[in-house]
Subunit: 129 residues, 2 copies
DNA sequence: TATTGACTTGGAGTTAACTCCAAGTTGTAG
DNA sequence: CTACAACTTGGAGTTAACTCCAAGTCAATA
């Protein structure tokens, strides 16, 4: 699979993919004799994983560490689990924060729905608009 | 309320607060005769709101736009609602992405739990570690 | 085989959101 | 009144994560 195809599949740019490989967010990608990237299914799976993790704000640094441990071999199961667990807690915490913000937004929007109808923004117990 | 007290209340730095005021993430803060910030309850409420929104990744740009509309007065209810709605959709979308990543992390972690016990990382139907 | 378009690299540039700094001002404690 | 810590400003610097660029290489087509 060419870099272009992978980029289309995941809707990212070649620059981002090359950057991911360069810094180690994904392991080195398989190449043709000429040196051109030719993604195997496993390469693609790494890309998919990286994009999923990044989309939830897992830092590049953490993904690099995970790949590094992976390449070190079977002695790093626990260390890899630890990295994943740290990521998990971060993501979990963020979901909670995001949910709180979503609630606040829903409340504010509902106040504006009333305001748009009545021409007056109710104050209730909240101080700011 | 001094800048220090507000910072302690929300666990942020004075630099961040001053930056928020400077770029318009919050409206201009009340001052003493000497020109030193003296946050009213309303100022603090704006800070709280900004921090909540930022903690869910709502861009500074969007908060600035909201404050700008707020200062324009009662003719901007609909426009303000639109900004909030856009933010809401972003946050909602992110929660979904984050949840998908959380699921993936949980799956990977459970595989590592097995691997740590058995010494072998099961491959099942997934290609990457 | 010549052209053309996609690929390669190393390195520089960009963006959002802070974060830090220097130089000066305010206000409180002694 | 004098220290002196905490405040002020405008502007420069930092960080993470890309994003762009120039100069060169590869490969499919005419």
């Amino acid at each position: 699979m060419t870099i272009k195809e992978v980029c289309e599949k995941f809707d990212i740019t070649p620059d981002t993919l090359r950057y991911y490989e360069r810094v180690g967010v994904i392991p080195e990608v398989h190449r043709t004799k000429g040196g051109i990237r030719d993604f195997t299914d496993e390469d693609v799976a790494w890309v998919e994983n990286a994009i999923c993790m990044r989309s939830a704000g897992v830092p590049v640094e953490m993904l690099i560490e995970y790949v590094r441990l992976y390449q070190e071999g079977d002695g790093t199961f626990q260390a890899r689990r630890d990295v994943l667990e740290e990521a998990r807690q971060e993501v979990q915490k963020n979901i909670e924060k995001y949910q709180a913000t979503l609630d606040r937004l829903n409340f504010k929007i509902s106040r504006y729905d009333v305001a748009i109808k009545t021409g007056v923004l109710s104050w209730d117990d909240c101080k700011e608009e």
